[in-house]
């Protein structure tokens, strides 16, 4: 649910990074934070446990520039990935405009990826969203590790919708901005469609 302010001429959109625990959601935001011009970003907030696991959410506000005289702002959130934080994940999905699903490419995390994707579908449905219609981009992260599953398998398991998907190594920034750009585009296109009725 975007917020359009005609008085300050701003559009605000909410993007949520979703995926199983330790797949690299927080790392995506950290890289974006590090590589963005300080004028274009606000503070990054991480509500984490003492061992750096996301407890509630990470939050990073970004300004992308102007469209037709409107400042476009994107609020990036991550969810806590561990299964028992489901109540928090539901809350963070409220008002979402677009989702980046980050999958962990390691063979042994395949089941966790699928479980998390199904969990995303259920939690969105509870809020009245349809995962098959919402702006969505996939990221195959951790491509640098030796035991990765090939991307065809990942597509087969997680991309029946055939949405844009990017290979990534989040700590090095590979694929990070490509992913962000793709979801921002889809959200803006949806905004355009939504308002032109």
């Amino acid at each position: 649910m975007s917020f359009i302010n005609y008085s300050s001429r701003e559009i605000n959109c909410k993007i949520v990074y979703y995926g199983p625990g330790l797949c690299g959601k927080t790392t995506n935001l950290q890289f974006i934070y590090r590589k963005t011009n300080p004028q274009a970003r606000g503070k990054m907030i991480s509500l984490a446990t003492e061992t750096d696991r996301t407890l509630f959410f990470d939050f990073l506000p970004l300004s992308l520039g102007d469209i037709r005289g409107f400042k476009t702002r994107f609020h990036l959130y991550t969810v806590p990935g561990q299964v028992f934080y489901d109540a928090s994940r539901k809350l963070i999905l409220k008002g979402v405009d677009g989702v980046v699903f980050v999958a962990d490419s390691q063979m042994e995390r395949m089941e966790a990826n699928i479980e998390s994707y199904e969990n995303l579908r259920i939690n969105l449905k509870e809020q009245g969203y349809d995962l098959d219609k919402l702006p969505l981009v996939l990221q195959w992260n951790k491509r640098d590790l030796p035991n990765v599953i090939n991307t065809e398998e990942l597509h087969k398991a997680l991309n029946s919708r055939n949405v844009p998907a990017f290979e990534a190594v989040a700590p090095e920034g590979i694929g990070v901005f490509e992913t962000l750009k793709a979801i921002a585009k889809l959200v803006l296109i949806e905004l355009k469609r939504g308002t032109s009725g």
Binding site: F3, N5, Y6, K14, I67, A87, G95, L191, S196, G197
Partner: protein, 162 residues
């Protein structure tokens, strides 16, 4: 699922007037109005030195978490939250189930006074936001006001990233 929140000049002015008045009537330091999704709508008072974007996001997270707690014990929502600090205090209330009113105050005011003024202003804000909701619905159903986004081209979007 709520429709997009759209705020036009006219309502923005009304809202800002109301919270400006609240700052002085409640002897508050700052007053914020935040969308339930964590987006700042308007602020008034001495906002310098406060990271308003972070404040908005954390307030919404706070309301979302306590709302979750409320449901667990069979309540609909907690409409008022109060956090007491050594010097500054935060009073948070929900208006019309959709926006959050945040009042920050110190010893120059009191919880009693803030409560009283928030209650009064809450009624006014509720009326304004009911109106905004109506307008937003009309706009999203294609009636009403022109949208600047209907005209966006692929190039406009591409240019954002160049």
């Amino acid at each position: 699922m709520l429709p997009n929140l759209v705020l036009y000049e006219e309502e923005y002015k009304l809202v800002t007037e109301v919270i400006l008045r609240l700052v002085s009537e409640a002897n508050a330091k700052v007053v914020f109005l935040v969308d339930k999704n964590g987006q700042l709508i308007s602020s008034s008072g001495t906002t310098e030195g406060i990271d308003t974007t972070s404040l908005a996001s954390l307030t919404a997270g706070n309301i979302a978490a306590t709302g979750g707690l409320a449901k667990l014990i069979g309540e609909k929502e907690f409409t008022i939250l109060f956090h007491e600090g050594e010097k500054d205090n935060i009073h948070i209330s929900i208006i019309d189930h959709r926006v959050i009113l945040v009042v920050i105050f110190d010893e120059k005011s009191s919880l009693g006074l803030v409560r009283l003024r928030v209650k009064k202003v809450g009624i006014e804000l509720e009326r304004i936001f009911k109106n905004i909701n109506k307008k937003t619905k009309e706009a999203s159903s294609g009636l009403g006001v022109d949208s600047p986004f209907a005209e966006i081209t692929d190039d406009d979007i591409e240019n954002l990233f160049s």
